[in-house]
Symmetry: C2
Subunit: 345 residues, 2 copies
């Protein structure tokens, strides 16, 4: 990994150290409507004038090629150069789109990500995945582009809506499943009221460490990294279906239900512990809204066939033999996938 | 360098070997209106159906984000996946745009470049620069992305208009200047009537070898590779000025005049041999159209200030102390640049 990831309770201090030696007039800030408040105060960027701040709309709809073009236009008109630094402060939409924009502007300007949602902190903070939605498909256009640095400060989560906290939590459950049974129990028992507290930062760091381990072994997702795709084969399809129908489903809600499907298949095809499957399933049903899309199995299956991680014809899942023992590229029959989708709560 | 560059008189054979093991239905072909004829016959791609061939317009105007979006739309609708291969057959516009599109589609599909102009063969075949024009600026949006392979077959140049041959020749002069005095004399004396002949292939290979040497030492243009920018500081400005006014100036014409300016500054500031400067200047005046833009020194200077290779305020040239002895990041005063532009033929 190229980037330096700092876990801190003092985002401004950490960002300041990363920007040492950079002329103030070379700093550009991208935020969204939700995160804009922090980009001035909490990050200590009061000195950055309006002309070098850009606010994009929040939400998946803004993660488009048109928004990327707007960022390029802004950087181009303001005279940004390769030595300039784009600070992307926001959720995964901002860090993913901003990372893509930075990577492609003049063939690459520096960028630093400051994730401001739990989901972005545990998932988008490492791995270098950037991109925009295109042709109705998530991240259809993008690159692998590690930022120069990442600042993770969970104090920023104090005002995060509960639904957004739960969205990040689903990725933490996934990381825990890829790690160990104890880690799973720890995440399922986490006190969400304390998400912005000092104690929770350790849980976030632990979650990121699991992801970083897989990314390090396979930065460009040629193979092993696909373990991180656990829950995402069905999850992405659920999310794409919602995107196409204009419904509001968070990434984590889709992943939580995707985990249900993946664990059901894991029990059936790889001997995963049925009791632990039951624990996770019960947790998902208790914690997340019902999955409306699960009823439309055929449409979801068609979307899975389109997934960018499919190398061969057919749909391949990441399954688990046990916590911490993933198996990638597990081919699953259409019929068993439709059955798994029926089991989703 | 990641990619394999093959110099050959049998493009179809070389491409066939690169595509060994790739299912026929995973091959996509991007060409432009000029190169489309070869993409079927000369490359042995008769088996690729119309649905997996896309023809973009020729010329700089087509090297846009809109065209890249058209390529993404086409790949997305046809179900291209990461294991698919995009064959970019055409001039630098096709290989640069196609490389960018491939690199960013689903965060990267395989691609092979088959440059079909002399300029693309000597310049775009190595170095991994991809991109599109944006906001009136050349390659304002793009990435560094080495293709999996490059096939250079100068038999394809048989029908290339003389003006396009001369465009490539300017880059060959530049490469020779970065190599040795003998190499310069060899290129200035080259028989352009034989550009598609077996003898010329060696000259092309020699030219690419010079470029590859600099790229290898500095893939992302952090420093030393900027030696290849010789002639391009003024050259890009001349080209951008023409682009903005809708005038037809080839890249090589702009570079040829840019070399005049760079060598004039080299004589004056770095003691470059005035006799060799005179030889190159005489060659450029004899061979290339007059440079209309040279009269507008102020406008060109403003464009140079915008160049993506500028790290600091001010304009920096690559200059030569002697053939093969470049010096990068040479700061030049506005006044001496305006004088150099006045000397352009």
């Amino acid at each position: 990994m190229r980037g330096q990831v700092v876990f801190t309770r003092d985002a401004a201090g950490a960002l300041g150290r990363m920007l040492e030696g950079t002329a103030e007039e070379e700093v550009y800030v991208l935020a969204d409507e939700n995160s804009r408040r922090w980009c001035v105060g909490r990050l200590g960027l009061e000195g950055v004038p309006e002309a070098r701040r850009l606010v994009m709309a929040a939400g998946e709809g803004a993660k488009s090629l048109e928004t990327a073009a707007r960022v390029w236009q802004w950087l181009s008109e303001r005279g940004a150069r390769r030595g300039s630094v784009l600070v992307n402060g926001g959720g995964g939409g901002v860090t993913g789109l901003g990372g893509f924009a930075a990577w492609c502007f003049k063939r690459g300007v520096r960028h630093i990500n400051v994730p401001t949602t739990l989901l972005a902190q545990v998932d988008a903070s490492v791995g270098g995945k950037t991109g925009v939605d295109f042709n109705g498909l998530k991240n259809e256009v993008g690159t692998f582009a590690e930022p120069e640095g990442v600042v993770v400060d969970n104090g920023m989560l104090a005002m995060l809506p509960r639904r957004e906290v739960l969205s990040g939590l689903a990725e933490m459950v996934k990381h825990a499943l890829l790690d160990s049974g104890e880690h799973v129990e720890e995440v399922l028992a986490a006190d969400l009221a304390d998400v912005a507290g000092a104690g929770f930062l350790g849980l976030i760091e632990q979650s990121v460490a699991v992801k970083a381990r897989f990314v390090r072994q396979d930065p460009k997702e040629g193979g092993w990294r696909r373990a991180l795709n656990l829950g995402h084969t069905a999850g992405h399809a659920i999310e794409s279906a919602a995107l196409q129908r204009g419904e509001a489903v968070t990434h984590g809600e889709a992943v939580a239900h995707g985990l249900e499907a993946a664990l059901w298949l894991s029990v059936r095809k790889r001997g995963f512990d049925a009791r632990l499957y039951g624990r996770v399933r019960e947790f998902v049903r208790r914690t997340y809204p019902r999955c409306e899309a699960a009823a439309e199995g055929d449409a979801l299956y068609a979307l899975m066939l389109h997934d960018k991680k499919n190398e061969r014809a057919g749909v391949n899942f990441t399954l688990l033999r046990a916590p911490g023992e993933p198996e990638i590229n597990c081919y699953c029959e259409r019929e068993e996938i439709l059955e798994a989708l029926k089991e989703i709560g």
